[in-house]
Each structure stands twice: as C-alpha cells, then as structure tokens.
C-alpha cells in the first residue's frame, strides 16, 4: 500500500542536501533558504532545518547508539540508515548541510541515503579561493591548505579528541565536485559561488525551486537581502557563530581574492592539480 498525503497519510520527509566542499558558500546558501522559508532575517546559529548531516548528536539520537563507541567505518556504513530514521520522523523537504563527497561507504551504500533524498543543491567555488579561506578556517598555512585540496582528506577525523561531527570523507577538491555533479541518483542543482555573488536572485531562485521552495522574484530578492554577507558578519561579531573553528568564519567572501593572497606558485599548483574540473566550470 502506498502512502497518499492527499488522504492524510503522513509521508516521510525527503532531504534536500545543501552540499559543498567546505568554505564554498554553504552557510550563505542555507541562510538564504532560512530567510526564504521564514520571511525573516536568518539567525546564523539556528539555520533551518537543523544541524549538519554528520552531526554526532543527531546520528546518536536517530540510531540509539553512541557514535563515540563506533569506528569510522561503522559510522560511515550507518549514516544512510540514520538519514532514513530522521526522515521517517520529519515531513516535507528539510534542507540539510553536507560536506562529504558523495561516495560509497563500507556498507555498499552512498554516504547519504538516496532513498531519503529529494534532491541536492551543490555549490562550488574557485579552488584557489577555497584554499585561502580554508587556511584561515583550519588555522593552517597556505601550502598546507593547497595540500588538503589535492589529498584524500577526511574532516573531523581526530584521534585525539571527540569531535562534534562524524568523520567526513572529502577526497580531493576535484573528486568532491565530480562525485556530486556526475551521477543520476537524484536531481542536483549545480551553482558556482561566483555566479551567486554576481546574480544572487537568479541563482538562489533556482536553488530554492530545486528544494521545493517556490517564491516570486521579489520574495527571493528579500531573502537574499536579509542574508547579505554584511548582515551575517554583523551577527557573528555580536553573537558568535558555532561553526567558527577559530577566528572569524565570515571573512571576505569575495570572488578572486586569491589573486591578492595566494602566492603565484601555489595558484599554479592548484591549477595543475584540478585543471580538468576547473576548465569544465570556467575557472581556467
């Protein structure tokens, strides 16, 4: 028997993934979404619809287990099941942030549940700008940040402290992009951060529509205005931001700032490492 919402059946939610490599504009995207669905200025510490997919607290509550008692492989294998438990308790199309590459986990399933998915908005940004932003965010040197982009990186994989999020496999920047844009498991709206800066209303209208939020141009423009970088920076100054690892989270947000901050040899390194994907998306 299939469920019919028109007959009052409660149909489990299906997720909309706000997906990106770290420091690519994900928080901005979700701030606009929050402003769009609430009609108010977003609180950066309470963005709709909750925490990142890899949140330990959410995983633990969903599965009745303690992720700190599990190995990385066990949590990777169980994350799709946690998504399905969550969506069974929700309705509609909640947006959830995710930084993982869309790859198969040890259990033979993608890291996020495909059956619990409605679609995704994938935001990508010039990796030279990502490298600069990442160096500030992680507190590492620029050469180290460039190395992160070219390595099989795993976020939150500390063997020293219990992190608030589960380990997240990023892969290289290029692998991350292609993992999300080159599949046919569910629809993906692909946006370049630079295009969002140039024409936010048009880009975010597409993103919102992918996630089931149908608004007129004026309402989208209002949501964009309420989520301006200046307003997000101001909130962070006044109230702090829980995702800021160190220093300021919302820094410059400018496209092409790498020209002023990334030494030429490192910029050439990034271009060599990611030439194919950079060319494909107009960065070279």
């Amino acid at each position: 028997m299939s469920l019919d919402p028109a007959q009052g059946d409660l149909v489990p939610a299906r997720m909309v993934w706000a997906a990106s490599y770290p420091k690519s504009g994900n928080t901005w995207l979700r701030a606009v979404y929050t402003a769009a669905v609430t009609g108010a200025g977003p609180d950066i510490n309470q963005l709709a619809d909750g925490d990142i997919e890899s949140s330990r607290a959410m995983f633990d509550r969903s599965l009745g287990v303690r992720s700190s008692d599990l190995t990385h492989e066990e949590t990777w294998a169980l994350r799709p099941a946690a998504d399905e438990m969550r969506t069974a308790q929700l309705r509609g199309m909640p947006w959830t942030k995710v930084h993982d590459a869309l790859r198969m986990g040890p259990g033979g399933r993608t890291v996020v549940s495909v059956t619990a998915t409605h679609g995704a908005v994938y935001l990508l940004r010039d990796p030279r700008d990502v490298a600069v932003s990442l160096s500030y965010h992680l507190g590492v040197s620029l050469p180290q940040a460039v190395e992160v982009l070219r390595s099989q990186s795993v976020l939150m994989s500390s063997q020293d402290r219990l992190t608030p999020q589960l380990p997240q496999y990023l892969g290289t920047w290029s692998e991350h992009v292609t993992s999300w844009v080159d599949h046919d498991m569910f629809p993906v709206c692909v946006l370049r951060y630079e295009d969002c800066l140039a024409d936010p209303a048009a880009c975010f209208a597409r993103a919102l529509a992918t996630g089931g939020v149908m608004l007129g141009p004026e309402d989208v423009a209002k949501a964009v205005e309420r989520s301006s970088l200046a307003s997000l920076q101001d909130q962070e100054r006044r109230s702090g931001f829980r995702e800021a690892a160190r220093g300021t989270f919302f820094r410059r947000g400018k496209a092409g700032a790498w020209r002023e901050e990334l030494p030429t040899d490192l910029a050439r390194q990034v271009e060599a490492d990611h030439r194919q994907v950079m060319q494909r998306f107009g960065y070279l």
């Binding site: 099941a81 438990m85 402290r161």
Partner: protein, 286 residues
Amino acid sequence: MAEVAEEQPTAVPSWTTGPVPAELAHARHLSALVQADNGQAIFSLPSVGRFWVRPGRPTVVEPAAGAGDDDVECMLRGPVGALRSTLAGRYCLRGSAVAVAGQALVLVGSLRGASTLAAALARRGHPLLADGVVVITGSPATAGPLPEGAPPRVALWPDSARALGLAPGDGRPVRPSLPARRYEVGPPAPAGPLPLRVLIVLLDEAAAAAQRRQGHGAGRAGGRFVSLRENEWHASVVADLGHQLDELAWATPLCSAPPFAWQVLPAELSSQSLGQLAEQVLELVT
C-alpha cells in the same frame, strides 16, 4: 513498561553467548540497529554481533567473527544496557553522574563534556556513579548506573585525559580500534542509585546563546522536556512501543522541579577551565 520485574544489581554483566535470532517476528520498533517489542529486543551491529535482550534473563550475545570481548562489553555498557533498562521500565539518559554528599549530580548534553567533567569531579573526591548511561528511576527520582554493569569507569579521549592529568597507559581501551580509554577515577562508587539532586545540561556557547534568544531557558518546562528527550536513550523505541505516557509521567517531575540547570561549556577543556567548571557545578549542589 513497569510490569516487568525489577532487576537487582549484580557484580558482573549478566550476559551469555549463544544463538540470537536474525529478526523479531512482530517487532513494533524496527530501525537499522534495534528491533523491539514489549518483551524483548535485538540490537545488531554487524561488525560486533547480535544481542538478544529480555528483561529478567541474561542478555544473549552472538559475537561477529573478529569481535573481541572489549567490543562486546562496550555495547553491553552502552546501547544494549540502556535498551535492557528501557524494556524493564527504567529510563536512561546519555550522560554521566557523580555522587556529591550522598546525592546524584547528573550531567547530560555533551558526551565529551559530561564524561570529562564527571572525571574532574571524581578527581576532586566525588565518586563516579555512571558514565555513558545514567538510569533514572522512581519518584522522587534517583539516578544510578546500569544495574547489571561492572563498577563505573569513565571513557575519555586523549585530550580530556591529558587535561585531567591522567596517563593514557592507565586506561583500558574502550574498544581496541578506538582511541578513547576507560579510567577508574575517584573514590569507589556507593552501592545503588542515589536521590537526584541536580540534572545539568551542558551546552556550548552558541547553543546557550540561541536558547536565550528563543526563551528556552532553565525556567521553561517545555525547554526542559525537549532537552530530556534529546538526551534520552532509545526515545524512538519508547515512542514505538507506545509508552509516551509513562515517559511523560517520568519526565514531568524532572522538568517541573528545581534541580534542572543549564551550564555553558568552555570552548577548550583545559585543566584550568575544568577546575572552574567543577566549582561552578558544585555550587549548584551545595
């Protein structure tokens, strides 16, 4: 849930090895790891094994190939132990507890923070009552460890152990493949549960600020109830077995009574910040 016979504390975990069914025929709760009906449950983690939980009888464990005693014990001390207590009509919180002047101080909200702060309090002479699973029973409420558990040890990651001045070699691995270790800290725990004096929800700065903005502080019963449910073991099992009314009866006195408090965690847990935090929470009790 309360009709099931109460279990008495035992010195060793009450479990045995044997075959465990792959599934329960009429499970009312079905998730990736847990199947449950009102009288029994199966917890299944493929890399560790299957656990058949029936209150009043030893838990039957069918270990997976390659799983060791530490792997099995870790589940018995955590999700399986909590499931067993839940089926027996006792509610369990994710957190830690210490004894202060004959009463229980319960810490929930951040597993890392709760275990580390509980260890800091134990190092100051307040016996560790429970870590990972805190069992709440009765009215007025009492708090204690799993009745079938071994003496409580606190699970700490290396950074927390260093902040507390504990040598990694003094602990025993939680599981061979994990960096966290269990430590015996502080004086021996008193036998049995103790009257619940205060239940403290540990929050990071940003979460505390958000709560203040939303008006969900310690003064709001609704905020307290949400917080309890968020920190309850197997809340979805309770819901699927239809025991929300029992749960409400259990949670309401806790939510309406004064001993509920919020405490903000420092961003970094150092020896100094832990000392200050320990003093602050002790002020709530004394």
